[in-house]
Subunit: 345 residues, 2 copies
Amino acid sequence: EAPAQEQEEQEEQEMRRRCQRFMAPPVSGPRELWRRRRDMRGRMELLIMETQAEVCRALAALDGGAAFTVNTWERKEGGGGISCVLQDGNVFEKAGVNVSVVFGQLSAEAVQQMKSRKTLKDKDGKVPFCAMGVSSVIHPKNPHVPTVHFNYRYFEIEEADGTKQWWFGGGTDLTPTYLNKEDAVHFHKTLKEACDKHDPKLYPKYKKWCDDYFYIKHRGERRGIGGIFFDDVDSPSKEEVFQFVQSCAKAIVPCYVPIVKKHRHDPFTPEEKLWQQLRRGRYVEFNLVYDRGTKFGLATPGSRIESILMSLPLTARWEYMHTPPENSREAEILEVLRNPKDWVH
Amino acid sequence: EAPAQEQEEQEEQEMRRRCQRFMAPPVSGPRELWRRRRDMRGRMELLIMETQAEVCRALAALDGGAAFTVNTWERKEGGGGISCVLQDGNVFEKAGVNVSVVFGQLSAEAVQQMKSRKTLKDKDGKVPFCAMGVSSVIHPKNPHVPTVHFNYRYFEIEEADGTKQWWFGGGTDLTPTYLNKEDAVHFHKTLKEACDKHDPKLYPKYKKWCDDYFYIKHRGERRGIGGIFFDDVDSPSKEEVFQFVQSCAKAIVPCYVPIVKKHRHDPFTPEEKLWQQLRRGRYVEFNLVYDRGTKFGLATPGSRIESILMSLPLTARWEYMHTPPENSREAEILEVLRNPKDWVH
């Protein structure tokens, strides 16, 4: 019994050390997290907390000006979250990295949203659930530094007959104001490498899913130049999907930080800033009209609105009938948003 | 026959004179409009064209800087519209006044949207329809001049069994950045007078409907200080509802123009401009997340996106966790948006 107990103690100490590097104490508490260290709920919560800390540190170091404001919040129906926001920095206009771990009963309205993904046996329209994830939108000031978004999430639900279902979802995608082919290739290649470690079929499949998902139908254009997106993934096995999600989460910083470093001091004109503001308007259109996460959040009672809408840019602009001139750099990015490209072949 | 023919000719000349004062030739053409002059479709098209011209002239005179750009557009499925937009003027940041007259078959998706209003007998999910209206959003530059919105519309549909249904909808509402009680009373009183001419029950009913409709649920606040709003109105009679709608349309200029005149030269601080930008963000949230007209438009194939989204402000802002200080003028308007007031008693 002695070596097992020793190992337990070491693991508990190790968990305490890991928790100290988080932006705030984890929603479930360090003790509960340690107890669940071999369950997926514990392992995923650890991963999202570490991802949040890693990304926030990298961004704060790049910015050099403002620091992250950390807010922890509780959901009275169960669970809570940690919102980290850096606003009006040197490099970033608004950067939010949010973790949430929520559980309880899904309302009829939320069940409806879930049912578009899964067919469920519910009990009086109520389904016990647990949802956790890390999500982030980073809007830089300089129009030559692209906006990035990522989100990795894990769901568990229990049906009326006791069947448990679980699935992962997530993705990382880039929204540049101007096209830089080198950056696009770097971003997609880094994602492809993370995917290829697990299955060479994943990148092409999730790249296309991303182009399809971030589609602003009424504009006939995508929100950005894509990346990867997946949802409802529950095969080949819980362990394998988790390993894949972990690789994606580890790829966030190498995907994005080199691009920020390269362009954060690029000179720009007022016209370029204006085009950025118009693109920000499209970002708002996608998020408020189409994004399932935003719609799900706004319709879920007890969700924290400030955390959900932290994805919106600090400023945005809508001009009536704005059309960039032919052969301009503005027309170049629009062309790619209308007809997504293959960046890695 | 001679006097009748003479009267016809006089009426045709009169119609031509009226059409010349429009911002553009009417969608149905002057000849068709004259032929339909005794039908509701003709009378309503005339009213919306005259309302558009009257409002655009009044706003252009107030602005003194920019002029209205007029765009006519056709919908290949039937009908078209006239969009008038004044952008970046002296007084107005963005003012759009749009007329549309569309007809054809409603798609299954659009029928679904309609069905929340009326139960319909459709034929393979298709319903012949005609919809026309004038709609406008006017965003001024000065934070002491409120934003106004109005919309007056008429629908006709034909069910599978040949039954024709018709109804009117509409409203006028005000969205100030700062509360000015005198303006609020003037605005609501002018609307009440227009309503009272027809039935004293209308103003209280439609005032409440307006407060309920322009509710940003996820924020727990209304978009503005209200006005009137109504939909699905098909009683007491087509004639009486039209007369009421006409009174409302004639009340737009007296509701709004005096308020603009009073405040267009008010001095303002950068802090006041910032608060206006944050309120514009809320305006965007309402329009993209909740507004039925916008959602209907974005989901209707062949609709003109630029005309639908001309309701969005030129610029908007989202700050994470912005809370105005207690007893500030910012907190004063928030209080009214959270708890609508009775302005006329």
